[in-house]
Symmetry: C2
Subunit: 255 residues, 2 copies
């Protein structure tokens, strides 16, 4: 049999680790990787002690590119053609661009490794791709709340909430989706006043689940009223007025 | 400055390539990777000639694990607790498990590299995560058709279609989402008779877009009527009857 060379081992170990963020691997010959990963800003390798210990990869601190990355998205969002009548912003394409969404998910996850979430929760539809990538980086399941109960999800808990646009809406989640005592990280695309996020918090109370964090892709900077607190966002938007240039910028915590 | 060693270079190149499926890198010192990738079944490196040429990574032929992987999902789906009243199957959790969805997306993509799709199309909601991962592996955008026109998506094209359950439903897509003459790969979670897929094909006609392929996660093996043709599926399901064991298996093309 062909002897596996050291450099081949390294290439494979790197691939294995970066494809499986947050997973613990039993420790053996991973020491050399520490240096390589740090030098090339591929993220951080952490040692976990104890019987279930080993080494795991977390895509944290991928250099000082985070702010550049978010600024590049702000740049796209400032394009005048995205400004829709009624003060709306078109950004569905950005929310389902795999490369951008992958980066946003990794960046959100980097802020919540210590929150120990058991799952990521989002409300259908636009936030699903970012929430999915966040869940993948945290190596936890994604749970999707729906606007209505679906027959193929079994018995469900329904709540009513007031959406950002002021309407009473319904939010439904299958009873079997989550368990008592778990911890949720809420990820969604946009916060106007926090109505939908408030709904998700209420929904989690029904399941006796703790909300370990809330993060948005984009949030209104000075909403008339704010229904949540302690939330993070990747980008901040000043009030949208027809015919004006969009004032949009990366949040201060992004370095 | 510290001289970068050959093994470090290799580790980094592997990471860069596998994180960016289907992207073409300009060719320089990638030759050694061919052997390593093949030996460890990490996928295939392909050389593209011409001015825009170089080398790109495609997660094709990741060994003979594909069938094992899909069989492991079938195994989960056979659990009696997933069998809901009315002949429905609970599999929302599987459709939003990042590791499973990542694998399914890569497997679907592996079948469509030569279809040259410009984007992946899905219909909200359950198929979004798998479609997202397929789009990421193909390095193309994901386009999500909605049940109704949304104010924040601008002007839209609406069509009516007959869903799997026999109801008339609406499907809407923003005019700016796709362009004349593009090619679409349709990815969805479940095919009963193909009603929703038929709707997506009609929708694409409205945009003068060619459908380059259709792939489902799960399809009914012998539907009463079949509204699409040439589709692929990862898993096949015999008719669901109350109180019987689910007959579910990987499709024959999966080796």
């Amino acid at each position: 049999m062909h002897k596996i060379k050291r450099n081949e081992r390294l290439a494979v170990m790197t691939q294995i680790l970066t494809q499986s963020p947050n997973r613990i691997f039993t420790l053996s010959h991973f020491c050399e990787l520490f240096y390589t990963m740090k030098q090339f800003r591929l993220g951080r390798l952490e040692t976990v002690t104890g019987a279930a210990g080993g080494v795991r990869y977390r895509p944290i601190g991928l250099g000082s590119y985070d702010r550049e990355f978010v600024e590049s998205i702000c740049e796209k969002l400032r394009e005048p053609a995205r400004h829709l009548p009624g003060g709306y912003l078109y950004f569905s394409d950005i929310l389902s661009d795999p490369q951008l969404v992958h980066g946003m998910g990794a960046l959100i996850a980097s802020q919540y490794y210590d929150a120990n979430a058991d799952f990521v929760l989002t409300m259908e539809t636009k936030g699903i791709p970012v929430a999915m990538m966040t869940a993948e980086a945290l190596r936890v399941p994604l749970i999707i709340a729906r606007h209505a109960t679906k027959v193929y999800e079994g018995s469900a808990v329904n709540i009513s909430y007031v959406s950002g646009s002021g309407r009473i809406e319904t939010m439904a989640l299958s009873r079997r989706a989550v368990k008592d005592g778990q911890r949720a990280l809420i990820v969604d695309d946009f916060m106007r006043g926090g109505g939908t996020a408030r709904g998700m918090i209420e929904l989690m109370k029904e399941f006796s689940v703790t909300v370990a964090g809330i993060c948005f892709v984009l949030a209104l900077e000075n909403p008339a009223r704010r229904l949540v607190e302690g939330e993070k966002t990747l980008m901040l938007l000043s009030d949208i007025k027809d015919g004006e240039t969009l004032n949009i910028r990366p949040a201060d915590w992004i370095k």
